[in-house]
């Protein structure tokens, strides 16, 4: 009886991580929320995950003019040359992410959440949604 339990446990211990790993491999389809912006100008090169900016979350709280007129964000994914010094000095994200309006910069892993290697882009944009030939490699 004791032997049976141990043996069953061994199979479960071996099988579960293998199945989980395979299940993870099966989920490569990129399908982030419409308007999520990946910013990867410097992150990968600096050994950080790229930033994923969720438009939907921010537009629940702010109108477009706040960031795109008052704070000077250009309408271009990766087009703003944002770096951490500028943020800490109160520019771009740092205008709000200062511990006052929103949580402060030390929460690195709340912004740097993207899968490593993901290029700068507006995710789920129409141009990414156009039907493409099977096996096409230029899907962003």
């Amino acid at each position: 009886m004791k032997k049976l339990t141990t043996s069953t446990g061994w199979h479960a211990v071996l099988g579960l991580p293998v199945m989980l790993a395979l299940a993870w491999v099966e989920v490569p389809v990129a399908r982030a929320e419409y308007g999520d912006v990946v910013i990867n100008n410097y992150s990968d090169a600096a050994g950080m995950r790229p930033v994923v900016f969720p438009h939907w979350f921010h537009r629940l709280r702010f109108r477009c003019n706040v960031c795109h007129a008052d704070l000077g964000f250009k309408f271009k994914a990766g087009g703003n040359e944002i770096n951490m010094v500028k943020i800490i000095d109160g520019q771009f994200c740092g205008a709000c992410h200062n511990g006052d309006v929103a949580w402060p910069v030390e929460n690195c892993d709340l912004c740097h959440t993207g899968k490593p290697g993901t290029p700068s882009q507006v995710h789920e944009s129409d141009i990414q949604q156009f039907a493409q030939p099977m096996g096409s490699t230029n899907k962003k």
Binding site: V18, R31, Y34, G35, R61, D70, H112, E124, Q129, G135
Partner: protein
Amino acid sequence: MNKRYFIVSLLIGITTFHMACTAQPITPARPAPAAAAPAAAAKSPDSDPLAFHRLHKPSGKRNRPPAEDGIHDPGNDGTHALLAPLSVFPSLPKANSGNRVDWVQALAAGTIKPRADQADATEEIVVMDLNIVREVKGSMPNVVYPHKQHTEWLDCSNCHPGIFVPLKGANQMSMAAIMLGQQCGVCHGKVAFSISECRKCHSQSKEPNPAPAAK
């Protein structure tokens, strides 16, 4: 008992492995090798001729939480602290594309009250109510551009004069340019409603076509 467990887990393992091998890999991080792609496509469930949504995302895969959305890294602790879209979206007006939220309607109805200033919650945005009608070629209805809904969100300087010269007739428009992310496509098709919502812009009926002359 012991043997049965092993066989079942082996079968599940093989099935999962087979599915994993035949799944269509389209992530930017791991592009499919060109030579392997046709073979993978031949066996892929994506190529099932009777499948629904063979080329498009089925409804069950929309608005997934960050850890499951394919672009956030589930191995990052912070990813799991982020708000899931569906914790908010069900209470907002629905739309047929994008993230399936009618943001203009949500703002007009007061469902959401986004600030017009970074820190001052009482600041009011300057709204201009002026419709611009653009007569279009072909059979599509004319475009009515409402300044009102746009200035509820944006500042004049966001569009003028960088994207649009503020002069009637001065801007040559094309759907091809819009689809490539210029003109209206700077926002529409990326963040604002998708270009698939043709009738939201092409909303003014033209005079009915004259009846074709009898032969």
